[in-house]
Symmetry: C5
Subunit: 312 residues, 5 copies
Amino acid sequence: MIVLQRPHGIRLFFVLKGSVLQSIAPAILTCTAIALAVTLSRGVLFNWKVTLSAVPFSLIGLALSIFLGFRNSAAFDRYWEARKLWGDLVHRSRSFARQVQSLFHRDAPATPADPHDVRAALIRRTIAFAHALRHQLRRSDAGADVAPLLSSTEAREFAEARLGTHYLLGRIGADVGAAMRAGELDPVIAAHMDDMLSAMAAVAAGCERIKTTPIPFVYTLLLHRTATLFCLLLPFGLVDLIGYMTPVMVAFVSYTFFGLAAVGDEIEDPFGIEPNHLPLETICRTIEIDLLEALGEKTLPAPLAPVNFRLS
Amino acid sequence: MIVLQRPHGIRLFFVLKGSVLQSIAPAILTCTAIALAVTLSRGVLFNWKVTLSAVPFSLIGLALSIFLGFRNSAAFDRYWEARKLWGDLVHRSRSFARQVQSLFHRDAPATPADPHDVRAALIRRTIAFAHALRHQLRRSDAGADVAPLLSSTEAREFAEARLGTHYLLGRIGADVGAAMRAGELDPVIAAHMDDMLSAMAAVAAGCERIKTTPIPFVYTLLLHRTATLFCLLLPFGLVDLIGYMTPVMVAFVSYTFFGLAAVGDEIEDPFGIEPNHLPLETICRTIEIDLLEALGEKTLPAPLAPVNFRLS
Amino acid sequence: MIVLQRPHGIRLFFVLKGSVLQSIAPAILTCTAIALAVTLSRGVLFNWKVTLSAVPFSLIGLALSIFLGFRNSAAFDRYWEARKLWGDLVHRSRSFARQVQSLFHRDAPATPADPHDVRAALIRRTIAFAHALRHQLRRSDAGADVAPLLSSTEAREFAEARLGTHYLLGRIGADVGAAMRAGELDPVIAAHMDDMLSAMAAVAAGCERIKTTPIPFVYTLLLHRTATLFCLLLPFGLVDLIGYMTPVMVAFVSYTFFGLAAVGDEIEDPFGIEPNHLPLETICRTIEIDLLEALGEKTLPAPLAPVNFRLS
Amino acid sequence: MIVLQRPHGIRLFFVLKGSVLQSIAPAILTCTAIALAVTLSRGVLFNWKVTLSAVPFSLIGLALSIFLGFRNSAAFDRYWEARKLWGDLVHRSRSFARQVQSLFHRDAPATPADPHDVRAALIRRTIAFAHALRHQLRRSDAGADVAPLLSSTEAREFAEARLGTHYLLGRIGADVGAAMRAGELDPVIAAHMDDMLSAMAAVAAGCERIKTTPIPFVYTLLLHRTATLFCLLLPFGLVDLIGYMTPVMVAFVSYTFFGLAAVGDEIEDPFGIEPNHLPLETICRTIEIDLLEALGEKTLPAPLAPVNFRLS
Amino acid sequence: MIVLQRPHGIRLFFVLKGSVLQSIAPAILTCTAIALAVTLSRGVLFNWKVTLSAVPFSLIGLALSIFLGFRNSAAFDRYWEARKLWGDLVHRSRSFARQVQSLFHRDAPATPADPHDVRAALIRRTIAFAHALRHQLRRSDAGADVAPLLSSTEAREFAEARLGTHYLLGRIGADVGAAMRAGELDPVIAAHMDDMLSAMAAVAAGCERIKTTPIPFVYTLLLHRTATLFCLLLPFGLVDLIGYMTPVMVAFVSYTFFGLAAVGDEIEDPFGIEPNHLPLETICRTIEIDLLEALGEKTLPAPLAPVNFRLS
């Protein structure tokens, strides 16, 4: 995620960080080059004057704009829903830790001093869950982040499990159930804490859903086809009207349309590591700090700071 | 569901998979042919010059675009709600299995080794529920997928039941109730687990709703009528302005409008087996794997992989 | 609800079922007639040439289109929310029946054989609730549908009650409370089942809200006034531009605008018995079948089938 | 709330009730007068010909229309959310009354005959809550409606309380707690009923939020400024094109734009007593009737009927 | 938040409070100056006539308007969600206080007279939570507001905690747990009250999410670039058409586009102290008054009143 303030004045046009300019530059240049050729030939293609005017473009431009708007909203909704799911994980984790520390039938909260306290293990696994989910979504290896938070047996089982997040919730659930049977948790409290686990499972399934189900391919195809055709034909429609300004306006129009399309492409899958994706590492660190603090840990890791105006 | 990356450059125009081009080709060709005839006759129909200009088309084009946008959003919302419901089923199933394994008053979780453990039966029926729902939505026979997960009596009763999903939830609920009366589940835990069953019933009813209640027929009618009339009359409005380019632009405009309408038609009923429909088999397999793993099964089926870039 | 497939080709223009054509035909004909008169008089009204062009119409057309789009979305949201509420009722009813059959402290589920089993009465009243709600929304008499499901005392009290749905929930609640006091339901289970009753009350109140609170009258007025003025003045704006095609295009434009407005008018109040309204009878029958099946009834009524492509 | 059917034909233009025409008439007349002056002077202002055309207006008209659309949606969402909150109150009140009548450890439901039954007091205070909320939102005195439902001590304390709704929920909560301590309510039932109180508190806070937080002032300012400037300058853009029809079209355009803006202004704050505001009195009466009926009262007040096509 | 009524007539153009005019004035003036230069030079730049017409601007203007509309909706949704979260906090706080006062196994509610009553401490910490959240979102020091509500030990620990809100919920949770273990709260009531704490944690996490995750930077960049380019090039497109009116219309267009963009910029981050931001202090004061009243405090602080038409 880019954490830059909006630049003003002339600097507005020279920011590249977090812009999509790099990815759409080839397409814009192609269209502009064609527009230049069309301008120089005054719209004559193979000795045949292409008799277009701007009118049909306003018909298509309308449908295209509304479609771009729709696609953008759909992509942004995915982005924002993904962020909400992680925000959900933040407060579910915190609340679960609070419940662990306050609702057991024990006199004092768990402290890092006692390594065998099941409550400390519950909280540590909750931290591990956030890391595991992040790595699962980014298709990376969670071992290094997760292992220090688990016992060695668990770390091995975690590495072997098909779905680390599922394994961790199962382990947490088993300990909650055991505590209930041991009389340390009232059944109603156990059910109450189990609700939090279900909520975390819902977060994981929601992220999985966004990750594995893109906006239907047919939309992407239709949109890019229409936008590309539009920008390729546009010079013929403008050249008789604005002459040598044709390449300039075609560049502008194609920047707007391709830019909007590209923003959608990038935002649509928000769990990646592109500049405009969600800062999952930062959020995981927040959860880690909050839960270690709830456990009474005194030396806490530092929150992540942006590197080169970017949170990863 | 198509899992293709967006093609770039010239290849963008040659992808057929997941495109709606096949279904709209006849309509586009008809309009283009008419446009060609109009161009050749210079807008004269039966010796009578049709005096249209592009202006009224921009008035109608606007309303049509906004209407297409509305219809598209409505169709996509159905698609995405359907996907959410199945995502819901994924995590409800997982959480129910976790509850089964952790919240009974028994010392160890169920294993596949003991075929009479009620908990194994509960988990297997939960898997069966997902398969049954998929077949119910696709109007296919669930027998082959469901029978191996049930006892022979249950499999017979399932086959006889009017609504398989309803039957399965009833059986699961009955066992939860019996376990409660036998003192194996605290009443509060039984109520808590029953909540999950209600949530699964809500998923089934939600999918049924989407399946049985299309977007009102009047919308489809009004939209297709307006779009068709628009594209049929358009050549008369363009021919005096752009001459021989008329068929090209009519083809383009009709591709855009019919394409948008056709995407809506396809996405609207997302449970089918068209290329852009939801990959229900893949999701069912995910549930199957997760729940068998929760049961301690060691040999798990493989996740479904895309066949020819398509998940079924 | 119309359950017709979208017609293709020329048949698209000859479907009347579920179309709004009948209701808007007078308005379209009026506008077309005026357009014809304007065309014949070349825009001269009482010896005075009305000097309009199409430009101001595109300004108003834009605002009108966006407004029509807004109104349509609002109307469709009402339609879809209404359908969701009824979908909710479907699964709440099913889940309540499941709870009744599984969570009482009794060994076997209720069967139709024992007419005095309170559980059978609970399930039958739940069916009656759906019928009562349908009749309440359609302002028709629920007696014939509801009486067979109730004891004769209840049927009499139901007929006397101001709000049948309210009466039924009260009766169900009273029996749940009595069962709790008799020790047949654990308090936590009673509260859990009472939640279902509250959810059914929420469905009833939601439907009532949609029924009694139309989209504010001022919207309807503003929209119809603007659309009507637009179509009445349009011929003057087109006649100098497209001559004898004026009546054709005015007919087309007024079909689009009045059609969109009329769809909204129809969909807005979705509980009626117009072709595009919700098939409440069909849904009630579904609930009836499901709940009788849960009660162990062997002879079930048949699901409703479309009559002349229409579900009522 | 206006409960008029949409007028047809010529009558459409002569309905004033619930229209915003009165409030926007001055602005429309001003613009039309200016348009008339511009038409008569042929666009010459102080001997200087203002050279405008319609083109820039279509650029601004677009942005203005989309902005009007956005503002309208935001205002309508507030209206509809407000209605939902009150619909919520309807069913929460009913469900709370049902719980009161069925879930106490007493053999028979409360009747009006026993004035000291705490359950009757609970139900009466729930009715009072609805009245109190209505008066709070309309900044009127609740005394006359609320006092007959409370004991004299309570009525006095209510009058002294800063927030009547808050006071009433506190009193209801206190009695639920006391019943729990007295063993008349199981703790799980008490928590369950307390949930309803929290839901009523949520309704009150939701209404307060809508009441106290208008759509940001900057929107109103920007919208009205742009719309006014647009309509004031428009005559100069139209006069060379449509001559003497300029005042007519300016009147039409300004009716559309000012009308849309005014509808938003009126709907935005839906708790008032303007014609298009919510019929809170009618809803309160509904709650009163339903709850008195639940209490077994035989003589019920009549539902409110529209006075001059208007529900207050 | 500005609490001004909409000004009418000529005054509409002279309100500065809550307008964004100051922040966009430089951009508007720059564009207008360029337009003036272009007008004076009749579109000739360095002896080269720039041959633009208005047509391409309507193509881009469309996409730009739709994009502005999208961005505005996204920004307003953030604003309104933020307001909803604080509305949530209002009723959660009130309901928690009600539960504290009614659901403990004690005969009388807590009063300010007994400083050692744990219930008074619970309520005071709930007030402190609101203040702490406000200061956290505004990056200011909460000490002065929070300390008087806490014991001196707590105030010190609060000041040392990384996240004050998190600390306070932990302290409240610990006391609820202790009360449960001491038999003063039934476990089901403790779980019920813990739910409220989780809801408050959700409010805090939701606000944090809005605060730390802006609308993706790429949107801001693309929008401001397109709008700026549009307004800079526009004079060339208008000058041949409307001559000396060019600067006037460019000023108008740039006011509309930059104004809409600037409103989005301001509303997007609603927790600040700009005129159009949320009145968090006012809301905190409301919570403070309500909860002190619930505690039986007789002398309550006064609600905040607008200063110079502005609530802070």
